[in-house]
Symmetry: C2
Subunit: 114 residues, 2 copies
DNA sequence: TGAATACTTGCACACTTGTTCAACTGAAAG
DNA sequence: CTTTCAGTTGAACAAGTGTGCAAGTATTCA
C-alpha cells in the first residue's frame, strides 16, 4: 500500500486538517453506526420499531422479509445495543433501545428531502 | 422467500406500523446515504474535506491511504454529488458539495458520545 | 518533442455481506 | 411425553465491496 508521503503538496494544510479530524476511535464508531443503518432491511426494522414494539413475525410482515432474515439482522442490532428484546411465552418482542438513533434518522430524512 | 403472511400476531399493529413508515423511495435513498458514510475511508475523506479543500495526494496523506484507493472512493462520492472537483493544472482539488452531510455527521458524532 | 507529474480507470481478487435452508431451542398446549 | 409454534442459529452461497496493480490521460516543464 503505497502511502502518499513524498508528493505532499501542502504540508501545512495536511497537518492542520489531520489534527482537526475527530479521534480515530470515534470515526471508526461513527462509520460502524452508519454502516448498520446502511442496509434497507435494518433501516426499516429500526423505523418500524420507532413506531411500535413488535414481535419477530410482525416485523417480518411489516418489512416483507422472511423470519430468518429478520432474526439475523435483529441479532446485529442487538449486539450494537440498538434494539432490545423481551420474551413473553413463545413470542419475542423487540423495541428500540437507543433513541438517539431515532432522532438521528428523523433528522437525516429531512436532510435528504432538503 | 417465505414471507410471513400467516402467523401475523397483531394485524392492526402491523397495518398501522406499515402505514406510518416513510415512503419506500425515501428509505432506499436514506440507506444509500448511510451506506456511503459507512466506510471509514470515505467518512474520513468527507471529514477532511469539511475542514479544507484538498488535492488527491494530500487527501491520501491525511487518510493514510494510497492515491488509487482515494481516487476510487472519490469517484463514488462524486457520483453521489457529495464532493465536487476543480482541476488546476495537473492537480485536482476536491471539496464538499453537500453541506447537509457535514452537519449530519457532526450531529451524529455528538450522538455517539451522548 | 520527450520526460515527469497528478490523477483516473479497468481488471483482478480477497474479503465481506445478506439471505436462504435446514436443524435446533424453548415454551405452551394437548 | 409429544406436538406445535415462535424464534434462533450455523453453514452455504451468490452478490457486492474495497484496494492494489498496471496502463492510460492530461498537463507542465525542459
Amino acid at each position: 500500500m503505497e502511502i502518499c508521503e513524498i508528493t505532499i503538496v501542502d504540508p501545512d494544510k495536511v497537518q492542520s486538517t489531520s489534527t482537526s479530524l475527530p479521534d480515530a476511535r470515534d470515526v471508526e464508531e461513527l462509520s460502524n453506526l452508519f454502516k448498520i443503518l446502511g442496509d434497507p432491511t435494518r433501516l426499516r426494522i429500526v423505523l418500524a420499531l420507532s413506531v411500535n414494539e413488535l414481535c419477530v413475525c410482525d416485523l417480518a410482515a411489516v418489512t416483507q422479509m422472511s423470519i430468518s432474515a429478520i432474526s439475523h439482522q435483529l441479532r446485529l442490532l442487538r449486539n450494537m445495543n440498538i434494539v432490545s428484546n423481551n420474551k413473553q411465552g413463545k413470542m419475542v418482542y423487540y423495541k428500540l433501545d437507543d433513541h438517539h438513533i431515532e432522532s438521528l434518522i428523523k433528522e437525516s430524512l429531512t436532510h435528504i428531502k432538503e
